[in-house]
Point group: C2
Chain length 249, copies 2
């Protein structure tokens, strides 16, 4: 593996451009990594692939000089994760893992049994950015503000299948359901600890775009179920037949 | 879901027996859950299934009176996880998730790039017990002391396939490899951040019982790879075709 630092930058990257880093990134590269002017850094902006850049330090202003594009942008298959916010550490975990696992949109949802309604989308976006820098992703998932489950379902695009993990009623194993699906884009819905209420279950099961699925005999914690469901989707429908991306520089 | 507390007890459970709880469990039931004498508790001991019990408090001595066996013991398919210890929080995470996902044996291993050699098997066992109480498991995975990778391979039972996640060299997607396997018991090997050394890779690939596998194009953190690999194994080879177990009491 390369040890060259890799950063998400919010400014558009084009040949000859210079991108000013924010304070946190500047501090990370100069103080934590102890890099000086001329050091090589990799950067991506979610739109223009990945670039090899040279660091330029002038007092507090730290810039990246863009040298050359090393990867073209790749669009991931749309995959949305809807999840009921958990305790802080577990919510953070869901965002980090969902980002590693190639989710393109993270939507916190409020259900009847959701214990916490407080979610700061800006804080979770910062987490998602950090999590996207590690696994060689070329984009950062969008993180939305929390939304009531009913509202999310009300405006649902009917051609996008929504799989929800149901531990309480009859449902089929997720891998069986996915192997019968030819749809690419999809969404996964994970309830809070305690699952969905009987009313929510009834509502979900009445919708044509919704399919309940199971994840085995053991009752998984919500954040575990999220990772497992994303794994099965990526493995069966997503891009997990592609080899690991290993940077050349 | 039932709200009846569920505990692992290390004493054998048989009809008419009374099991004294350790201090932590006693405190949890009486002070945190605020239960009194006569309250119903569920207990399992890894050997004799699950029992419905009545709490009996006599000063500091807190016992469970065993009322009736509510589930017979079920043996899980042997599934070993070998993983290189990570930072504390991430090691804890691996143990918790591996337990939820039905691992029967957790083996910390020391590889060339492993950052930390310190692992306390007793502390990880306590974590595994706690993690086994939640998902309706009837047993607790064994946690061994750390072992050098070479030693673990030296005494390997040749009939148990060992899958290792290799991000650096040619390998096949894990789901393809598993779908071609008829073997039940297995072991999964997850390297540290930074993966395996070239020498370890060569050694692993030379062994007949070892198969390298990949988990998609993004480079996953070690603890994420562990959860993903366990998910695929349980879904394709393990018991994930069984419906979720929902307690009746």
């Amino acid at each position: 593996m390369t040890n060259i630092p890799r950063l998400f930058v919010s400014a558009p990257m084009v040949t000859g451009a210079s991108v000013r880093l924010d304070e946190g990134q500047a501090k990370y590269l100069t103080r934590v990594m102890r890099l000086g002017t001329g050091a090589i850094v990799r950067a991506f902006d979610s739109v223009n692939g990945e670039w090899r850049c040279a660091l330029e330090i002038a007092g507090k202003a730290v810039h990246l000089e863009l040298l050359e594009q090393t990867r073209a942008q790749v669009a991931l298959t749309p995959l949305q994760l809807l999840f009921a916010p958990l305790k802080k550490a577990r919510t953070d975990f869901v965002v980090e893992k969902a980002t590693e696992l190639g989710v393109t949109h993270i939507q916190p949802i409020i259900t009847e049994y959701t214990q916490t309604g407080r979610v700061r989308a800006d804080r979770l976006t910062a987490l998602a950015i950090e999590a996207a820098e590690q696994p060689e992703r070329l984009d950062v998932p969008a993180v939305s503000d929390a939304l009531a489950l009913v509202k999310a379902l009300d405006c649902w695009p009917l051609n996008v299948p929504l799989y929800y993990c149901d531990e309480g009623s009859e449902a089929r194993p997720m891998s069986d359901v996915l192997s019968a699906s030819s749809q690419k884009g999809a969404a996964l819905l994970i309830g809070p600890e305690g699952g969905f209420s009987p009313r929510e279950r009834k509502m979900l099961r009445a919708l044509a775009f919704v399919t309940p699925v199971t994840l085995g005999p053991r009752i998984l914690r919500a954040e575990t179920a999220a990772v497992c469901a994303l794994t099965l989707w990526q493995s069966q429908v997503g891009d997990w037949r592609e080899p690991p991306y290993v940077p050349e520089i």
